[in-house]
């Protein structure tokens, strides 16, 4: 009697497990740059059938059908990809469209884009479950935490010996109208966690005047622009913007570039590498965690 009960239990457990595996969503649409990146990192790239316009990394994602900008999705557009699941941050919208997609029986998973580690851990573990790769998610997350910890330790150690450099991150270098990263932006979060100091007072990304730029006299300037590769491009930029040329950063040749896709949509899987590269550039005299930033 007991044995049969046990067998029955075993059987039902097995069955429910198999059923759960079959229930996993197979066709994914991802709306949000860093979420798509995490899906790829957890081995789910083959399941993605559509992504939004902020999902730019890795390059292969650009081949997928685009569902448009995450805040202006189209219900029928998403439905036409016949997805099983739509993932996105709380920015995904507009709400009536999300309601329509939900009404069509598509599973919708909202994963917060808040830039803190607890949120990220919850998101990654959830993605792992949904992708049927919970182990891998746990491993990735543990490694991620470890790398950030090592980064924090490294910065703390260096800061005991050296003063933090004044760092300014600029977006959109066209002409004289540059936008500077301010408080509460992921850009400044990056600068600070890489051991730099941001002197901007505003929040978000705002145009900055040439005089303010001069007064701030940043020791390092980062351009969040991929097109600025190589010495030529940087020289041209300085010629266009003579004020920039007067800053310490330009005099010491400490103008860096950063992949702008790092700044979109919360904490992505490439963040630790990005931080380590920035740190290495902020403190060139120190033994770096990694050192391959183009400068």
């Amino acid at each position: 009697m007991r044995l049969s009960k046990y067998l029955l239990l075993c059987g039902s457990l097995l069955f429910s497990h198999a059923a759960a595996a079959a229930d996993l969503p197979q066709r994914w649409v991802s709306s949000g740059g860093s979420l798509s990146e995490w899906v790829v990192r957890l081995g789910g790239e083959g399941k993605l059938v559509g992504v939004d316009t902020t999902s730019l990394h890795p390059q292969t994602l650009r081949q997928l059908p685009s569902i448009g900008y995450q805040r202006a999705l189209s219900a029928e557009g998403v439905l036409s990809l016949r997805p099983d699941i739509l993932i996105g941050s709380e920015e995904m919208g507009p709400p009536p469209v999300i309601a329509q997609i939900k009404a069509a029986g598509i599973r919708i998973e909202t994963l917060s884009a808040k830039p803190d580690l607890e949120t990220l851990e919850r998101n990654v573990l959830r993605l792992g479950e949904l992708l049927g790769a919970p182990e891998r998610a746990r491993e990735e997350m543990a490694a991620y935490r470890q790398r950030l910890q090592r980064q924090a330790d490294w910065v703390a150690r260096v800061r005991e010996k050296q003063q933090a450099p004044r760092v300014l991150m600029l977006l959109g270098h066209a002409g004289s109208n540059v936008m500077a990263a301010g408080k509460d932006s992921l850009a400044v979060w990056l600068i600070e966690h890489a051991g730099g100091e941001s002197r901007t007072e505003h929040s978000g990304y705002k145009p900055i005047s040439n005089e303010a730029l001069l007064a701030m006299d940043p020791q390092v300037v980062i351009f969040a622009d991929r097109s600025l590769h190589g010495e030529e491009a940087r020289k041209a930029l300085l010629q266009q913007n003579p004020v920039l040329q007067q800053t310490s950063a330009a005099r010491d040749g400490r103008l860096l570039t950063l992949d702008p896709t790092l700044l979109v949509g919360g904490l992505g899987p490439r963040l630790p590498e990005g931080l380590a590269e920035l740190s290495a550039a902020f403190y060139p005299s120190e033994q770096a965690l990694t050192a391959k930033l183009d400068r």
Binding site: G68, E76, G77, L79, S80, P96
Partner: protein, 332 residues
């Protein structure tokens, strides 16, 4: 014209990024009307037709009708072929209202998501109404409405609203900035019945009421004093026309964002086809405005599928060259 509208409406129901076989669309339509037909995939077809395409097409219908009719009303009132519904400040005011709702909402820490879309509509609607009321007030002097003053006041207030929108653009963070930009380009995306009803009522009101003022508009074409001598209460007519436009365009903009050029181009087009008599011009513009908007929306959602283009881009892209063509032709 009527046939064109029916065709446009049908196309707008039958086509979309999700390709439904024609038979399914028909059966689903019958099911929506309450006939008990069962079949494979029909549930999905019914959902797409009933919850996504039908409200969207109805929204397009209403917006097109209101914008085109207001265009005729404005061109008649100002006796100026360049007049469009934006001239009395409705559009500028609505944009300012929307900017306040979008940016202000995110600055006080985000509105309850259930409320946010309605608040945006309400702010846009009242913004349009308030600015129009101010413009109208500026035009009034000694119990008379000076149309030229009103026109200039409209230009000035539109510029001021623009400055307001600019200020909010500066204050906005990245995400709200994108929302604002998209709103300014207009879209019929995400239409749903609860948001449709107010616009439907306003549209019905405007569509019934404006054509009854057709002979008054005809008289106005001759000039204000001539119209007065013909026995029309000119001041009343002016107030009615402005009110109609403010309500109609305000509601349309609140529901679908700023959609340009329909109000400007459609009346012109119809004047070429049916002549300047408002008794024919008004119904013709109504039909043409709705058809054009539905077709433009069709382009907007098909051309980039599964993503979609803001419809304001499509209407301006079709409308602006056509307008230029009219200008050149008029000169020759």
């Amino acid at each position: 014209m009527g046939v064109l509208l029916l065709l446009a409406f049908w196309l707008s129901l039958a086509l979309g990024p999700v390709s439904l076989p024609l038979g399914d669309t028909l059966l689903a339509a019958l099911r929506l009307m309450g006939l008990p037909i069962d079949g494979e995939g029909l549930q999905q077809a019914e959902l797409i037709l009933g919850q996504i395409r039908l409200p969207r097409s109805l929204l397009g219908l209403c917006v097109g009708i209101v914008l085109a009719l207001s265009g005729v009303a404005m061109q008649g009132l100002f006796r100026n072929p360049l007049a469009d519904p934006g001239l009395v400040g409705v559009a500028g005011g609505a944009a300012l209202g929307a900017a306040i709702a979008i940016v202000g909402g995110s600055m006080i820490g985000g509105l309850p998501p259930a409320l946010a879309p309605y608040l945006l509509s309400i702010c846009a609607f009242s913004g349009g109404l308030i600015v129009t009321a101010v413009v109208y007030r500026f035009g009034r002097r000694d119990g008379q409405t000076n149309v030229a003053t009103m026109l200039l006041a409209g230009v000035a207030l539109t510029a001021m609203s623009g400055a307001g929108v600019g200020l909010f653009t500066y204050l906005a963070d990245d995400a709200t900035l994108r929302s604002l930009t998209f709103w300014n380009l207009g879209s019929l995306n995400g239409a749903s019945y609860p948001r449709l009803w107010p616009l439907l009522l306003v549209t019905l009101g405007v569509a019934i009421w404006l054509p009854r003022r057709a002979s008054a508009l005809n008289a106005l074409l001759l000039g204000e004093s001539e119209a007065r001598h013909l026995g029309f209460n000119v001041e009343r007519i002016k107030l009615e026309l402005v009110l109609c436009t403010a309500l109609g365009v305000g509601a349309a903009v609140a529901a679908a964002g700023l959609i340009g050029f329909i109000g400007l181009v459609v009346p012109h087009l119809m004047r070429l086809l049916v002549g300047p008599d408002h008794r024919v011009l008004l119904p013709a513009s109504l039909l043409a405005g709705a058809s054009l908007l539905l077709l433009a929306d069709l382009v907007a959602r098909l051309v980039l599928a599964p993503a979609e283009l803001p419809i304001g881009i499509v209407t301006a892209l079709i409308g602006a060259p056509f307008f230029l063509y009219l200008l050149v032709r008029g000169r020759a």
